[in-house]
């Protein structure tokens, strides 16, 4: 169990990891939805970004349900980046579900169940509800882990207001929340009693002089007054899926944390739809439709597409954004070919945004942004060479060279990445072109090269059923 422990400890003091699109902070549009050349981590693709801005506006207004937008373009032209930008532009209030087309193939639930869960995750409901919350300043917090490493953790916390003080025992789930929020003595927190959600309001004024150095985001708040437990009208933003899960089991919200939800009965969904509509009429709730983003949408099969056709007609449907890098290809699960691997009738219901390949100048800009994101100082010459590499091979390869070149540079105790470093990693790591070139040249010396020839024609028909033609890249 030492391993499990290690993972947990790392979880607490997590450093922000840098993902492929973590440099994107929005769509980079100005007030009149014109795309700025370089802004919020986005470069180029002006038309596509402007179009995405219009879509964002449509979602914000929240009146239109069940529209479908397709982002189509060659690989690495920023389709996912635009989707991430849309999510950022919409903010945290609007639900944005991101999934990959192949995520629906699971042994635990059927494809349509996975799709309808994803659709319902993208519809938010703002509910005004009176709940019992505990609001106070943390006087002392103590979390004990058993010496053996296994077993339950035991937690105690002392909270106070200006008038009173109480000790609480903490359950296991809420200990995790406390660790995640990095709660320490002197923080003012609220705990939602029903859901066990912990939020940090800020640090108490009385503790303001504990440390000289505080982060820029540290807020100082007054110690709360009166009783610790209060009834407050709070506005929850939950998704329809969360309401489904809560109501589908007796210990509903625990299932929500553990993540295993299984299939949800259609009757429950219908009941909840009716209930939500009722609340809306009474003015208790507000429906907040969001966005479902399906990446690699060509991986869906014909059943999913026809399900989507139907599902998008419901007035509870979110706006669906899809992305694909396929040209005219086979629709998965059939023998028919169709543009983007999507049936014509569904394509007819979509509006299509096209992304175009980046120019050399734009690629340079993107690489520059990535260098900043990865804290890598790069010499202008090295950047020019890297841009050259990106145009000759691919943008993704060049981005991966940034990280590796930075490591090489640090090994020779330098601070700035030079052309030498880039050249070195270029020779160390092959790109896809060079690698396949080598394969072609030395085909005979690799194993199983003869069997490959035979199996190719045998596997071909089988692949039509199972694989989505992933091996045939572009069929323009």
């Amino acid at each position: 169990m030492a391993d499990g422990d290690k993972i947990e400890v790392r979880d607490i003091t997590r450093i922000e990891r840098i993902g492929a699109h973590s440099h994107i902070r929005g769509l980079g549009l100005d007030d009149v939805l014109e795309a700025r050349a370089v802004s919020q981590g986005m470069v180029g693709q002006k038309d596509a970004r402007r179009a995405a801005g219009v879509v964002v506006q449509m979602v914000r207004e929240g009146k239109i349900a069940g529209r479908c937008i397709l982002l189509a373009g060659e690989p690495s032209t920023g389709k996912t980046a635009i989707a991430v930008g849309m999510a950022q532009a919409l903010g945290t209030e609007t639900p944005f579900t991101s999934m990959s087309g192949s995520e629906i193939y699971s042994l635990e639930m059927s494809k349509t169940e996975a799709l309808s869960q994803a659709l319902r995750k993208s519809i938010g409901v703002r509910i005004k509800e009176e709940t019992e919350i505990i609001e106070g300043e943390v006087v002392e917090i103590q979390i004990d882990r058993p010496a053996t490493g296994t077993g339950q953790k035991i937690g105690k916390v002392t909270l106070k207001t200006t008038e009173m003080e109480t000790n609480y025992d903490l359950g296991n789930k809420i200990i995790e929340c406390f660790m995640k929020e990095k709660i320490q003595a002197g923080d003012v927190i609220t705990i939602d009693k029903a859901s066990g959600k912990v939020t940090k309001l800020g640090r108490s004024f009385t503790r303001a002089r504990d440390y000289d150095a505080t982060g820029a985001q540290t807020r100082f708040v007054q110690c709360p007054e009166g009783e610790l437990q209060k009834r407050k009208e709070v506005v929850h933003t939950v998704t329809l899926h969360e309401i489904d899960v809560i109501n589908s089991r007796t210990h509903g919200f625990l299932a929500l944390f553990s993540g295993d939800t299984g299939e949800i009965k259609q009757e429950i969904r219908d009941q909840i739809n009716n209930k939500v509509l009722e609340w809306r009429e009474e003015g208790k709730a507000e429906i907040n439709p969001g966005v479902l983003f399906i990446d690699e949408v060509h991986m869906l099969d014909i059943e999913c597409f026809s399900y989507l056709n139907r599902a998008l007609e419901s007035d509870m449907a979110p706006v669906v954004v899809m992305a694909t890098n396929r040209g005219i290809t086979r629709i998965r699960g059939t023998n028919y070919r169709s543009p983007h691997g999507i049936p014509i009738d569904l394509l007819d219901r979509m509006i299509i945004i096209r992304t175009v390949p980046y120019t050399e100048k734009e690629i340079k800009e993107i690489l520059k942004i990535r260098c900043e994101e990865e804290d890598c100082l790069m010499h202008p010459d090295a950047l020019t060479i890297l841009t050259r590499i990106a145009t000759d091979t691919s943008l993704r390869y060049a981005i991966q060279l940034i990280t590796t070149a930075n490591l090489v540079c640090r090994r020779r105790k330098a601070t700035e990445v030079t052309t030498e470093d880039v050249k070195k990693v270029y020779s160390l790591f092959l790109d896809e072109n060079r690698s396949s070139q080598i394969l072609k040249e030395y085909q005979d010396e690799y194993m199983f090269n003869e069997i490959q020839e035979v199996s190719d024609c045998e596997i071909e028909p089988k692949r039509e059923e199972t694989g989505g033609g992933d091996e045939q890249p572009m069929e323009h």
Binding site: I127, E129, I134, G151, Q152, I154, K156, K160, T161, T162, E163, M164, E165, T166, N167, Y168, D169, L170, G171, N172, K173, I174, I191, K193, A194, S195, G196, G226, E227, H236, V238, I243, I246, N247, T250, G252, F253, W279, K284
Partner: protein
């Protein structure tokens, strides 16, 4: 009559009654979806326990909220009282007040409404119990800032009365603070009216004798 609203509210409910042992149990189902359960003593006609089930929106079944009387104690609740290896129980809760923190219970007697706050070890001088009409509640403060509680008095609300300082007396003994509020006559009148109302609810035993004895006093 200022308690007319409350009586009408009770009248509107769908009522069920049963007798078990020495108490008569009432169950009310109000048209607005709320439910109330009461237990009356057969000897005195005093309500011993009262609980509400109010509608919640998100969670499936709402919990009973006890307004009056002891909270039914659950076996093995919480950390199981030092039974540390019983991990399946400690797994289930999200947050619990520790067993040494103050607990408040409420009781109604013939003349008084009583609150007992257990686990309060501080001497009597520490407590300040005040009636605050603008909050429609009684407030308990401690000068050492360890305990604070706003106690609402729904009985007084029901007959549109405000709590008054003159009716309050306090007593401290065995780690327990006892707050006694002597019932105003209007409240007594209301309770008798409610009993009269309940007389008409069908139950296995006759409430007549009980009522006769009460009105005579």
């Amino acid at each position: 009559m200022s308690y007319e609203n409350w009586l009408n509210y009770l009248r509107s409910a769908e009522k069920h009654s049963m007798i078990s042992g020495h108490c008569r149990k009432m169950h009310y189902k109000f048209p607005d979806g709320q439910q109330m359960a009461e237990e009356y003593s057969m000897e005195t006609g005093i309500v011993q326990r009262r609980a509400w089930r109010k509608c919640k929106q998100l969670m499936g079944e709402p919990e009973w909220e006890v307004e009056l009387g002891e909270t039914p104690r659950q076996i093995n609740q919480g950390l199981g009282g030092g039974d540390a290896d019983n991990s399946s129980i400690s797994n289930d809760f999200t947050l619990l007040e520790s067993s040494s923190s103050p607990v408040i219970t409420k009781r109604i007697t013939k003349k008084n409404i009583e609150w007992r706050i257990r686990n309060l070890p501080y001497p009597i001088q520490v407590y300040q119990v005040t009636a605050e009409p603008d909050k429609r509640a009684i407030v308990v403060r401690t000068t050492n800032k360890k305990y604070y509680k706003v106690i609402s008095v729904p009985e007084l609300d029901r007959c549109n009365l405000l709590p008054s300082q003159a009716n309050i007396s306090t007593h401290h003994q065995y780690n327990t603070l006892i707050i006694t509020y002597s019932k105003p006559t209007l409240l007594n009148e209301m309770e008798a009216q409610v009993l009269l109302l309940l007389k008409n609810v069908e139950t296995e035993t006759d409430m007549e004798a009980l009522l006769q004895g009460l009105l005579a006093k």
